[in-house]
Symmetry: C2
Subunit: 301 residues, 2 copies
Amino acid sequence: MKLSILGCYSATPRTLNNTTSQVLEINNHMFLIDCGEGTQVQLRKHRIKFNRIKHIFISHLHGDHFFGLVGLVSTFRLLTREADLHIYGPKGIKEVVTLQMKLADSWTNYKLIFHELTSKESELIFEDDKVEVHTIPLNHRIYTNGYLFKEKEGPRKLKIHAVENAHINVAYYRKLTQGFDVENEHGILIKNDTVTEPGPSPKSYAFCSDTMYKEDIVPIIENTTVLYHESTFLNQHAHLAVKTKHSTAREAALIAQKAKVETLILGHYSTRYDSLEVFKDEAEEVFANVELAKDGKTFEF
Amino acid sequence: MKLSILGCYSATPRTLNNTTSQVLEINNHMFLIDCGEGTQVQLRKHRIKFNRIKHIFISHLHGDHFFGLVGLVSTFRLLTREADLHIYGPKGIKEVVTLQMKLADSWTNYKLIFHELTSKESELIFEDDKVEVHTIPLNHRIYTNGYLFKEKEGPRKLKIHAVENAHINVAYYRKLTQGFDVENEHGILIKNDTVTEPGPSPKSYAFCSDTMYKEDIVPIIENTTVLYHESTFLNQHAHLAVKTKHSTAREAALIAQKAKVETLILGHYSTRYDSLEVFKDEAEEVFANVELAKDGKTFEF
């Protein structure tokens, strides 16, 4: 699982601060999460192949999370993309993208599939044989979802000596990795867990931005491998966090602690602060394993 | 008159190529012309004070000329702008900006005044005591206007010895600069042009992008000081210019020659070419005074 931070600042893009966008590589998928202005240039800087992006997840329709979307859709068209593109986001996202295509008289040749979200409950919105994606309803000034990306349980691993000693025909090995009990060469039923062990534990990533402190999300993101939680402010500006429906670094850490995640990544910083280290210090008073998102930084888990 | 090129490439923004946007300083106005994605960051790089921009002129609603507009409007709001902002552009521009403000539930505190254009004839769209702005109807895939910015005739300059010898009271000097005849201290009428001379000749700037070769614009832009004319292609790709309704460098030069402008600036280059110098070479076969727009370049006239 690899996470590339294209931008992690709030409000407005600046010369050295990009607004929210990130790419999650998980089980050969390349998911684009949020798409602030300038995302397409950030993708080029990261040398991420545009064609590998087939799914875009937009948290909410504030500009710093989606003003780069229509430009990306348009650039895909100019590069004669053919692959379908799925866009997940709040109701209204289809209208705003299609209005701009209409005004430009520039329709995509590739198929653009909008999945507009309206539910206030967590939903399963994408699933294949390896990954599933759920929404995480957040509490912000407008309708907002975070997204939970979960690897599915992979194939079980053969305990090779046990399998050989049990005299199981090689033809059944695949069934064993799928968790089935099988008959051996002497017609005896072999229980699966006597000859296999679980594969590597599935990983998961929860993206939560923008939101004020919301404990309701804890059951949804419990035991997640990595939680990205916005921390627009430090605790000294907790009143601003309440007013603007954002979180402090301390609150992000509280959510991480309650949800027993492995790693917390902070991001969506206000540009009022000179240093990011103070965000880490504040969060670490509550939760041990804290990382700082930075534009251009890549995390591997 | 000062022109700052924020971006001068066609189609899509890239790491080193910005799409169309430029700032024209003329008689203390700061006019923003077109607003491709990333324009707000380019403005910051140029250290152009956001508050000085009170008028934005959008040529047409293709993304490489206006996808940065809503982000700029939104950033002005976040920076608690108070001054009115006038936006000139094709019909539809108001709907697309206001739809995004509605979806974000983020309305500007400052006044946003849209001037939607629909005419196929050149129109006077802005005028004060020092400057006027006219549209230049262009021929592109969708409804498009160039813009002509013209300084008005400034005050006449006193020929100081002649004024003194004519025994004119100092109180009348201002009337003289305004072109009036005045009586001298002996009650004799002094003809204005015997004691004054014209002030510096008014300058003008014509922005023509995007358009295919269109001779109809020549009478509108005749004798312009500076003409920016798009040259997306070289003559070797003239068939593409016709197909996509763009111009070649040679065609831009032909327009400059016929309109007898002083200087031609080329821009809106396709990124297919390795060097810009070939654009200059091609245009100079037709017209002598050719400059190349480059991102970050400033011209003073």
